[in-house]
Symmetry: C2
Subunit: 361 residues, 2 copies
């Protein structure tokens, strides 16, 4: 019986069923006597693990045939460099929408390789909101436009996607991929580090439309060349085999639970419960984001009396509710409600907030 | 009872004791309820895992204080790009010794970022041998000189290290790190992908002298900037947490077995047994490398009658001896004898070779 809940922004908790399956399958000896930890990654056993994970993800997201699915080593920050290195081609510049902490980091890194047009600027004024799509300024001749649909640190999300015309839309969906259905065809490239909704740290999924692989990438490291990785089925460099195996188990689990529509329903319900409790606290707790921009996966909130932040974190940890501290750039509180967080975890947090209010209010 | 042996060039088998420990510890719930798969990598629990692994490796190799130990995502091919990107600085060129397949791949990748002087050229003539150190041509003004002390695919090793004077020596020690004591102070930088002697796929260890971090690296991706990774203790990007935990367990196991001197003794004995059996086969089996250049960890050999290669691989697999196929570039046979390979595995292979000879000779 799990009486602890992990509200960290990542790595997230894993469903108990996935942990149990991992414990059984990762240590099982295959025909060649090897466990998943020891299989040659050029061999049949790992090849089957890789193919199954890819097929399952393609199925879950209804990824069109003209998109490649890559499982690459490292986290999203590595893709902050690899996206411009792979996609810039002969274009003069790239466009980025600034919507907070992580898109700003993506912009800084892209600026080392290309001229960046900031298509929309985050103001950071309260209530927090992603920049309005109507104000986007998007030059025709940029190689792509980059968006961060969910800002993990700021706790805000775009209510809708921009229309970028012929400019390929590139998205860092690290914290929201597989939390809801997504129309892949609207994007040129999607990337997501695995440790939130897709398993464990050390792997990033890249989904890329095949025509974007044709652009020259003279200085991209071979290990990060999307074209080479697509041609070699993510094995152009040593793949993160265990992270890929775990991602496959997460994909299976999501499918068994009812797929992305079900994840979306559950996610909306969990987020509504928590935001409603914050809003109903009479100002004792408060959420800084405008309602329509509130992230359903990273609920950022705070205590009106900031002197109570540390006591609340300690109080909740004693009740088995862990890692509620806000991002270091902002302080306050944050509850991340990824797919593996059960509704009981959210209800336990709400009960804890009520009890804390009674004791300290 | 393990009756199968994994002779793959990587990932290698893991010691049974390490697998058992992983099964127990990776799934144990910590104070916050999280398993190793779920711990925040900025948190205390993973911080302790990281610090222990680093301290143990420093101890095993007697790494001097002025060297940083980094645990980075990805494999050695990624470092083929990152070494020149991090170390080129303002130098006009870099020097590489060509000793076979993997050093040639390192040279090709470095050539995309810098002018490469090939300090020594591999001839590939039989008997196979690394280029003699006496013939090395090493310009004073190169940023570093790169060597691959053990060529995993070719099955050859340098019998001694070159004297590069003031030029920092950089080595890809992927297949030989921790198989013998090594004088770290002779190197400016060492790197090794983990899946041979240090655990599982998806992580590379970099050991780098701190003065080499001062060189400017204008285009190195932030996630691969050694300076940033040193400053942030390998967490400048999402670290491969499980691979780091496994590496720590491998370091502990090596220490418990008696450390690098013991690994060296065992390795020499295993290699001598196998090469002696090959040499004593009356030419039925043969090793293409000159005796003094024979790799102790990657024993490349072949059947005089190459039509027997496939039947031998099948025959040995039926006896639980797996992954003896040679590197795809060369064909033939290869038995990798990393630290986790017990002497019984080598004896089983020798017995299998003798039986096969009786049946097919």
């Amino acid at each position: 019986m799990n009486t602890s809940y992990n509200f960290a922004a990542g790595p997230s908790g894993l469903p108990a069923a996935v942990l149990e399956r991992a414990r059984k399958e990762l240590f099982a000896h295959g025909d060649d006597g090897s466990t998943a930890f020891e299989q040659p990654f050029t061999g049949e056993a790992f090849g089957a693990t890789l193919a199954r994970a890819r097929a399952r993800l393609r199925d879950l997201l209804a990824v069109p045939d003209n998109y490649h699915i890559l499982f690459l080593a490292g986290g999203a920050t590595q893709q902050f460099s690899m996206v411009p290195l792979n996609l810039l081609g002969n274009a003069a510049h790239v466009a980025y929408a600034d919507s907070g902490h992580w898109s700003q980091r993506a912009i800084r890194e892209a600026g080392r390789y290309a001229a960046v047009t900031v298509a929309a600027r985050y103001e950071g004024e309260r209530p927090l909101a992603a920049p309005p799509l109507s104000a986007w300024r998007l030059p025709d001749d940029c190689a792509y436009c980059h968006i961060t649909p969910n800002e993990t640190a700021d706790g805000i999300a775009y209510p809708a996607l921009p229309d970028c015309g012929d400019v390929p839309l590139v998205a860092d969906v690290t914290s929201c991929l597989l939390t809801a259905p997504l129309e892949v065809a609207r994007f040129g490239l999607l990337y997501a580090a695995a440790q939130k909704n897709l398993g464990i740290a050390g792997m990033t999924v890249v989904i890329v439309r095949d025509d974007l692989l044709r652009r020259p990438a003279p200085l991209v490291p071979s290990s990060c060349d999307y074209r080479a990785q697509a041609a070699q089925e993510s094995r152009a460099n040593t793949p993160p085999t265990i992270a890929i195996a775990l991602a496959g188990m997460m994909f299976d689990w999501i499918a068994q639970q009812g797929g992305l529509a079900e994840m979306h329903t559950r996610g909306q319900r969990k987020a509504a419960l928590l935001y409603d409790a914050i809003d109903a606290s009479g100002g004792f707790f408060r959420a800084p984001a405008a309602p329509v921009h509130r992230s359903p996966v990273n609920v950022r909130f705070e205590l009106a009396n900031s002197a109570l932040t540390a006591p609340f974190i300690e109080y909740s940890a004693r009740r088995g509710l862990h890692h509620l501290r806000g991002h270091s750039a902002f302080g306050g509180l944050r509850a991340s409600l990824y797919n593996a967080m059960p509704e009981e975890g959210v209800r336990a947090l709400i009960a804890c907030m009520a009890d804390f209010t009674r004791s300290y209010g």
